[in-house]
């Protein structure tokens, strides 16, 4: 098995898949922690589905599907951010925008004949389609995303855990909500490359949700989230190469296994230790 993997490593497409996978997993791990803390699973799903619309449009126009995807997610993020800043109306706005956007996606799909393979790749993920140009593009998007996240890290944390005091302390809570939607838009565009639109939550929710179960220390939670995303993506790529089963099957399975293990086995032990010693 190992021999087989080493042999496969010689192929360009495998190397590109691994390079892309590392970048995507790191970005997903960082962003996932905030997606979970801010309860934005539904928004992530909407961004991904409208990313599908974007990339379907891009394929129809003959431009880069990755850029189309990114355009779709960014436009959606701006729509959601502009229309629904208040938490109460956010989910409704997400639903409204998502429904219309998906309708457009169906239109693009029907206009383009011979689209089935690419549609499958976008919906369910693939690793074979990553070119060296794509890797550089993903690296650039990922770098900008992480830089933006680092720039807003402290006020975003403040606004996430304690919005009232954050606002009183001068943190631009509303602006940060939109900035984070854009960060999510970029992270979704990245993660879709591996797991596809429909399985996006496995990289943008599961690692952060698992990390929450392991530790209450913010830095460790991020490290755990990144670690789980890396393990799931790289493990998924390896297993997919060995079996020819689509990569997203293994990524979702591995990240789900991490969640179960973290929630029921490792988490209770670790969090118990972090809790106070005296009653």
């Amino acid at each position: 098995m190992i021999d087989q993997l080493v042999h496969l490593l010689g192929y360009d497409f495998v190397q590109h898949a691994i390079e892309a996978g590392v970048v995507i997993a790191i970005v997903s791990g960082f962003v996932s922690r905030f997606v979970v803390a801010r309860n934005m699973a539904f928004a992530v799903h909407a961004l991904a589905e409208l990313g599908f619309t974007g990339s379907a449009g891009a394929i129809l126009l003959g431009v880069s599907p990755v850029l189309g995807l990114l355009t779709g997610t960014v436009v959606t993020a701006l729509f959601i951010g502009g229309l629904g800043v208040r938490v109460r109306e956010r989910d409704a706005v997400v639903g409204v925008v998502m429904a219309f956007g998906l309708g457009l996606g169906v239109l693009f799909l029907s206009l383009y004949s011979g689209f089935a393979t690419q549609a499958f790749a976008i919906l369910f993920g693939t690793i074979t389609g990553v070119s060296s140009g794509d890797v550089i593009l993903l690296l650039a998007i990922g770098g900008v995303t992480l830089l933006a996240l680092a720039l807003v890290y402290r006020p975003l944390t403040f606004a996430t855990v304690d919005p009232e005091v954050a606002q009183a302390r001068g943190v631009p809570v509303g602006l940060l909500a939109i900035v984070f939607l854009l960060i999510m838009a970029a992270a979704v565009a990245e993660a879709v490359q591996v797991v596809g639109v429909l399985l996006i939550l496995t990289l943008l929710i599961t690692p952060g949700a698992t990390a929450e179960r392991l530790t209450a220390v913010p830095g460790r939670a991020i490290a755990a989230s990144v670690g789980i995303a890396l393990f799931s993506v790289l493990g998924g790529i390896a297993l997919s190469l060995l079996t020819n089963v689509p990569v997203s099957v293994f990524v979702t399975s591995l990240s789900f296994a991490c969640y179960l293990l973290g929630r029921f086995v490792v988490g209770p032990a670790l969090l118990g230790r972090e809790r106070r010693s005296a009653p």
């Binding site: 890290y153 402290r154 302390r169 929450e212 209450a216 220390v217």
Partner: protein
């Protein structure tokens, strides 16, 4: 001549077309412990929001620590109405307190020993050392409230604004929290503005009262304001202020239950505890 911690000049606040209070003109000196009292919906929280720069007056003016209100004024510490933190929030009490120092700054922040020491001092000042490193969502309401106070105090504020910090706490925890805030006030000589629907828990500390009812207001010492005459005038209907075992009960026909300020469910507890707390004072 001592400067004012907060000064309103003919200030009127309207919210969605409705006047919350009007022509508020008053000043509280630095070093005062002010209780802001009144029924629900009378604009007590709005008053803090104006001071924090989160809401704007529709007329008149206000100065906080000698300048117009602005968000992020480092001279102000703020303890919000406490909602419990989510149980699984990956955050420790010490992280919450740390946000009070540099949570509003951009970037990830570099290791800072001075800040870590200030956080530890603030946590010690509210006696929360035992659980400051536990997940904050797993702590009790009283423990979370102590950490919120530590967060408000870590910036060494000149003015501490507290919005119903005793809500959802039982009597023992109420007393612990008021002792903490009263103790800080006595040690530091700084100003406290304390919004509450029940003055009794802070009666021992308060030297100024602002009572707001239906857009009208009255301000002064507790003895001046908390009288049957003043509150009858303010409510516009007959009100009796009773002093029982060192506690103050406001009784009036305007209140549905005919008993207490506005939350009848507090009353049995107040009655029950009246004798005990008077003994301890």
């Amino acid at each position: 001549m001592s400067p004012s911690a907060i000064r309103f000049e003919q200030a009127t606040l309207a919210y969605q077309g409705r006047e919350v209070w009007r022509d508020l003109s008053l000043a509280f000196d630095e070093g005062a412990f002010v209780a802001v009292l009144g029924p629900n919906g009378s604009g007590k929280t709005s008053l803090l929001r104006v001071a924090l720069g989160l809401a704007r007056l529709s007329a008149g003016s206000v100065e906080v620590l000698g300048e117009p209100p602005r968000r992020g004024n480092p001279g102000i510490g703020y303890v919000p109405q406490g909602h419990a933190f989510d149980r699984d929030l990956p955050l420790r009490g010490s992280d919450l307190v740390r946000l009070g120092i540099d949570g509003h700054r951009w970037g990830i922040g570099l290791p800072d020993r001075a800040a870590v020491r200030r956080v530890a001092d603030a946590i010690a000042s509210v006696q929360a050392e035992a659980y400051a490193d536990a997940p904050i969502g797993r702590l009790s309401g009283g423990e979370q409230q102590r950490l919120r106070i530590a967060q408000a105090l870590v910036g060494d504020p000149r003015l501490l604004l507290c919005d119903e910090p005793l809500a959802h706490l039982d009597l023992r925890h109420q007393r612990e929290i008021t002792d903490l805030i009263g103790g800080w006030h006595a040690r530091s000589g700084r100003t406290v503005i304390f919004v509450t629907h029940d003055v009794n828990p802070v009666l021992g500390f308060v030297d100024r009262v602002l009572f707001v009812v239906n857009g009208r207001w009255a301000a002064g010492t507790p003895d001046e304001i908390l009288t049957s005459e003043r509150l009858t005038e303010l409510y516009g209907s007959h009100v009796d202020v009773l002093r029982v075992h060192g506690r103050i009960l406001v009784v009036g026909e305007a209140f549905g239950s005919g008993f207490e300020l506005e939350e009848p469910h507090h009353l049995p507890v107040v009655d029950h505890d009246a004798a005990g707390s008077a003994d301890q004072r």
